[in-house]
């Protein structure tokens, strides 16, 4: 029998996997990749 906390943990894990899948499906991973391979002007202080 799973405890209440264990159920919450399982639900969080399931939600996380679903969110990653949904986000990747609608193209967010591509946006992350495009930003991450180029110099981030804001990050380095160019603006």
């Amino acid at each position: 029998m799973l405890s209440k906390k264990a159920i919450v943990q399982v639900l969080f894990l399931l939600a996380a996997v679903m969110m990653i899948g949904y986000g990747a499906w609608r193209g967010e991973a591509g946006t992350v990749f495009t930003k991450a391979i180029r110099l981030c002007m804001e990050c380095v202080g160019i603006g």
Partner: protein, 294 residues
Amino acid sequence: MDKNRSHFLVRFRGLIQAGAALLTNIHLPNFLKGTLYQGKGKYLCVPGLNCYSCPGAAGACPIGAFQAVVGSSKFRFSYYVTGILILLGVLLGRFICGFLCPFGWLQELLHKIPSPKLSTRRLKPLRYIKYAVLLIMVVLLPAVIVNTSGMGDPFFCKYLCPQGVLEGAIPLSLTNAGIRAALGKLFSWKFCILLAVVVGSVVFYRPFCKWLCPLGAVYALMNHVSLFQMRVDRDTCVSCGACAKACPMDVDITRTPNHAECIRCGKCIKSCPTKAICYQYGFGDKSKTEIKEN
């Protein structure tokens, strides 16, 4: 996880931190070339605060990635990055801060510099600033304040994060004259923040993690439901208070083993005279917090 394994982890924490920092920035030749890694690893987020404009960065910074998505013209929220953060938070919680974050490790190294050390016990309310940074600078502003193309700035990366200067601007400007020439007032501002964090880290333990880090805030929220937990054995605990005294994050582990501020550094495990504290990993509540009243 048994007590021996817990002590093993604590004993080799410094090495694990060094290894994690190296793996997070494994593309070392790029530091000499002044270029960024552009492989598929950058589809994924690294667990710690690590700028993706660092020449050696193996993956994307989760906080930068989140802002890149919400600040783009196509999206107003990032399910992808939020999912990764929840996954990492449930699997490891703030163990990431204590063992895997390169910027946390740097602050710890700086704190080893001999100098008068100041306690942060009376500064506990400052801990809440990092939640405001997360909500306002990471989630809201990039999505709300947008230009005519519908794109928002990564406010945290642009105005507050010292990692971009340390890992991006400094190494890149050393090898690239174009970048060096382009650095202006914004760089100066961020360099001052970096300097403040460096000096602050010498006298305070991990000031950026405690008060400002939005990634630490996310993992802090997840610490309560993380599979990686602390366990206090109530039968062997003698309530001596040594653990609370040793805790650099100002947590009393016997009262709240899964406190949001606990980064699983293991100083309490080391300090316990009866070996009553250890790490636990698994589903359900492993903490067993109740201690005997004397």
